[in-house]
């Protein structure tokens, strides 16, 4: 393993994050506060408790997932797309590194940034609602796995994208709807039976359900299934990246 290369990529990517630390910090705090003002206070006050949890507290895991998933994708896709766009990827391709080291460097940095923002959102949320974390280890595991798996997806998007428009295409057209329809702001049990069945085909449901379970012990689907789903998604992303580097798709001529 070329550990020096992994560290170099990681540090280089984190430096970009630290250059814009204020924005990185203020943006999630502001958007989370807005969600709580709108959904938690204005609308939430008219919604009854869900299985003993206030609506404001109920939406916290979903809000964290919403931001973490979007940030993991955007950080990782930008991280690898920018060198492609600038042409600096020549250095990466001519360096004594294999795809595992490149992925660890870029995805590790993107996941760290997403994790940082996830923690900031949780801290912000704790000012608005009483947070209860019943399974802290599971909570950390779900959060870290989500950061990693969606950073892997972002990495794939960054390699696939040929322009900046394509970079935002998948997050906006696919991921955002899946997250909003995945139980961020409601429990699946609140839907009519037909929609409950349809919703089970949305992979994000398993993610939010498992994460919410780690907070309040409430789950729409079995926790083991949630873990299995996120592990399978991570495995799928890794397989796609392995194939990309093996064939040189969109990176090597």
């Amino acid at each position: 393993m070329n550990w020096a290369a992994i560290a170099a990529i990681y540090r280089f990517e984190m430096a970009r994050f630290f250059r814009t630390l204020t924005q990185s910090f203020i943006s999630p705090v502001l958007s989370t506060s807005l969600y709580f003002v709108v959904f938690g206070t204005a609308i939430g006050s008219r919604i009854q408790e869900i299985e003993g949890v206030s609506y404001g507290a109920f939406i916290v895991p979903g809000l964290v997932m919403l931001s973490v998933v979007m940030l993991a994708i955007s950080n990782a896709s930008f991280g690898i797309y920018f060198p492609k766009f600038l042409g600096t990827i020549y250095e990466l391709l001519s360096a004594p590194v294999n795809f595992i080291e490149i992925v660890i460097g870029y995805v590790g940095a993107a996941a760290t940034k997403a994790l940082f923002v996830g923690v900031v959102i949780l801290l912000t949320a704790s000012f608005f609602v009483d947070l209860r974390i019943e399974h802290p280890l599971a909570m950390v595991a779900f959060l870290v796995l989500t950061c990693l798996s969606f950073s892997l997806l972002g990495f794939i998007i960054g390699i696939w994208a040929s322009n900046f428009e394509q970079m935002s295409l998948v997050p906006q057209l696919v991921v955002t709807p899946l997250i909003f329809l995945g139980g961020t702001f409601y429990s699946i049990s609140m839907l009519p039976p037909v929609w409950q069945t349809i919703t089970l085909f949305n992979p994000v449901v398993y993610l939010i359900s498992g994460f919410r379970w780690s907070f309040y012990g409430l789950a729409d689907v079995p926790v083991a299934l949630s873990l299995l789903a996120i592990a399978a998604f991570t495995g799928l992303c890794l397989a796609v990246i392995w194939w990309i580097f093996r064939t040189g798709w969109r990176i090597r001529n």
């Binding site: 170099a8 280089f12 250059r19 600096t88 020549y90 004594p96 090597r252």
Partner: protein, 309 residues
């Protein structure tokens, strides 16, 4: 001299059937400067990209210091530094950080002392805290060289290092190349500035349409292919070459005041004495004489036109 880079029957074809490299075989000796000359689209950059790992070869093999670029890519790539043709740098990053990144990427431990040496050598030390976007084009090109040298490569590829740079910077680049050679670094540079190859290369390779037409010692190439011409300028123009001078195969210029005599410098007799005697006997009065040697550029044009060397 030991071979440090060995290329064997290297081929690169693209999906549309275009063959960018058609079986290139080339040995590069340790410590030499090899200039690869060729017109745009000849395959120079493809050759470099393939050796450096940016492009996957279709067939053939390349070893660097005995390490195969595919089966032993880590050892091979550690020995190589690449300065690309285009200026490709992260605009918001600081000079020092981007050079540190390059050193780390090639598996070397952080060593700011070594990076300082490289930056000083390239007159970049004062700019180390500047963001790349604040630098001039020439400075950016130096940063690219610093990045390529950050891991102390044994073989340095310079892809069109002086394309679009001013005369002063070009001379600076040549000085840098000379210093690197003195430090034992093998340098392969591509260029279509013939004077660049003429000024700094030990050997010259000519590539066209994916084929290596020749690789030869620069001095030998020029001696072998370099014709010399004697220009005899006359005080009074003439309308035709006098019959007494017919055996010398002279050319008369349009104005009629210059006779051109082409000769081989390596022949036992150049025929110059005889020519000058005959010119005097023909009653022509000389104003001046001058000699001129053909440049690499003319040799290059001859080669790419498909004429036999």
């Amino acid at each position: 001299m030991k071979t440090i880079l060995s290329i064997r029957d290297l081929r690169k074809s693209y999906a549309d059937g275009f063959e960018a490299l058609k079986g290139v075989t080339l040995d590069i000796r340790e410590g030499e400067i090899l200039a690869l000359l060729g017109p745009n689209g000849a395959g120079k950059t493809t050759l470099i990209s393939t050796v450096c790992g940016i492009t996957t070869p279709s067939s053939g093999s390349v070893t660097v210091g005995g390490h195969d670029i595919q089966t032993d890519f880590r050892a091979a790539r550690r020995m190589i530094g690449l300065v690309p043709q285009e200026i490709a740098l992260e605009p918001f990053e600081k000079v020092m950080n981007t050079v540190r990144f390059s050193r780390g990427l090639f598996g070397k431990r952080a060593n700011d002392g070594r990076i300082e040496e490289v930056l000083r050598k390239l007159s970049l030390w004062d700019k180390r805290r500047n963001a790349i976007k604040e630098l001039s084009g020439g400075m950016k090109r130096r940063v690219l060289i610093a990045k390529a040298l950050a891991h102390d490569p044994r073989v340095l590829f310079l892809d069109e290092p002086t394309a679009g740079v001013d005369v002063e910077l070009r001379k600076d680049m040549w000085d840098i190349v000379a210093e690197l050679k003195a430090a034992g670094v093998t340098i392969i540079l591509t260029t279509h500035y013939i004077e660049e190859a003429e000024a700094i290369a030990d050997r010259v390779g000519v590539i066209n349409k994916g084929e290596l037409l020749l690789v030869e010692d620069k001095a030998k190439l020029m001696a072998r292919m370099g014709k010399k011409q004697l220009s005899v300028m006359l005080s009074r123009p003439i309308t035709a070459i006098p019959p007494a001078l017919a055996r010398h195969n002279l050319e008369l210029n349009g104005a009629g005041d210059e006779l051109l005599y082409t000769y081989d410098t390596h022949a036992d007799r150049t025929g110059i004495t005889k020519l000058l005697n005959d010119v005097a006997e023909a009653g022509l009065v000389l104003r001046d004489v001058a000699t001129r040697q053909s440049s690499l550029e003319e040799i290059f044009v001859t080669l790419v036109k498909g004429e036999t060397p």
